[in-house]
Amino acid sequence: MKMARWISSCLLVAAFTLGTYADRAQKTAPIAMGGYRVLAGDFHVHSYPLSWATLGPWDTVMEAQRQGLEVIAMTGHNNVWVAKAGRWYSREVGGPTVLVGEEIVGPKYHMLALGIEHTVDWNQSAASAIAEIHRQGGVAIAAHPISKFWPAFDEEAMRGLDGAEVVHPLIYVHERAHREMAEFYARKSLIAMGDSDYHGLGAMGLCRTFVFAADQSEGAVMEALRAGHTVVYERDGRAHGDPALVRLAAENGLFDETQRPAPGAWVRISGGCGIAGLLGVFVFGLGRGEASAKGKS
């Protein structure tokens, strides 16, 4: 028993040593083409608390840096104060550009409000929420617009809507979601968005939006979004976005250049040791005088 506990502890120590060593920000050289700075972004990121997320606003910023993202929008569920904390922190530490946003989660639709300063009330129609977002100078994006949300996007809402998520983890899980989001995106000329809807599972930036902006400032990113200067890729390289920019990106090999490497060996070993160590602690108890706990487990 003592030996099993000792081995579990060693596995945990090894897991922490390797995992902490491997915990570094990805170094990516700035990409420029056609006179634009091409910024890797994720515009649908959630933080703890209130939004079913595991990382606090400062850790979200650091995680974005680790994933090589140059711009993120922190989109709390029906609030903006967590995003404001994240923006403040990122400015302090020289992190990625953080847009203050909100995921307006209503009973009939989910919508991203990017570049706003005040919470937009969820208890209103999609059309009036979009009008409120525009009043604040923001951009309205339909979040994962699968068919159950379509009734909320009536003619008036569609007239005001700026963009839609066309690449989202859901499209890889359900073929139907893939079809529906593509169909919604094709309704009119919309800003193409690829977001990971990050809550703490998987990797932030798993789905990305490449923004073609003048520079990395918040103002330039918002300007580029308003102009629809985005390109997003599905996993197989299928591109969506401004046709001229899609061509420019293809000529410059943007898709290949921005493929992210698989997790390294240290990360895999740390994960394996961590799971085994925690399982060992669970099965063999915490330490001295644990005979009774062992009996229970």
Binding site: L50, L55, R268, S270, I275, L279
Partner: protein
Amino acid sequence: MLRPAEEYQRLVREGCGRGNWSAAQRPLFMVFLLGCLVSLLTAGSLSLRLCAAGAVNALFVPLLEIIALAGLWRSRRSTAFLRTVDLFFMGHGPWVLYLLVFCAIWTFVDPIHAYALTSRWMWFLLGVAILWSAYIDFCFLRQVMRESAVRAGAKLVALRLITWSVGLAIFGGGSLWPEMLRTFRL
């Protein structure tokens, strides 16, 4: 975990209170475990930075449980409070097991497949963990808190209502109400 009634009976009979530290040990392990969970889910590895961040955010979980337990604890009938806390946290096995399975999937499987796998199976396993832990806590209330079956059932419901409602409000309170409206078509 498999025969909680007998085990709790035996543990209460044996007594063996081991001071304040032992009462803190299991709640702290839970915080540590949740911190590790955050790190594994985020990076697929255990890093001190992510583990500490997750642990700080998860501190409210055991605190909430201890406060709720204190509200239900009656000194005249049951064992000492610190021992009660220790025994209560012993019953978290189904949750620990569930979280470890969840973590293992997200650590070893690529995110896209993990999404597919967890959206199919994890709700079922979550249901099992909820029922299993409810049974263990019921036995805890019967054997350690010495409650009748009816009162143990009522206290179990109270315990869940207090901890889950506050916990869900902190964790996902921003969209709780509209999501409920959608789910129940109100």
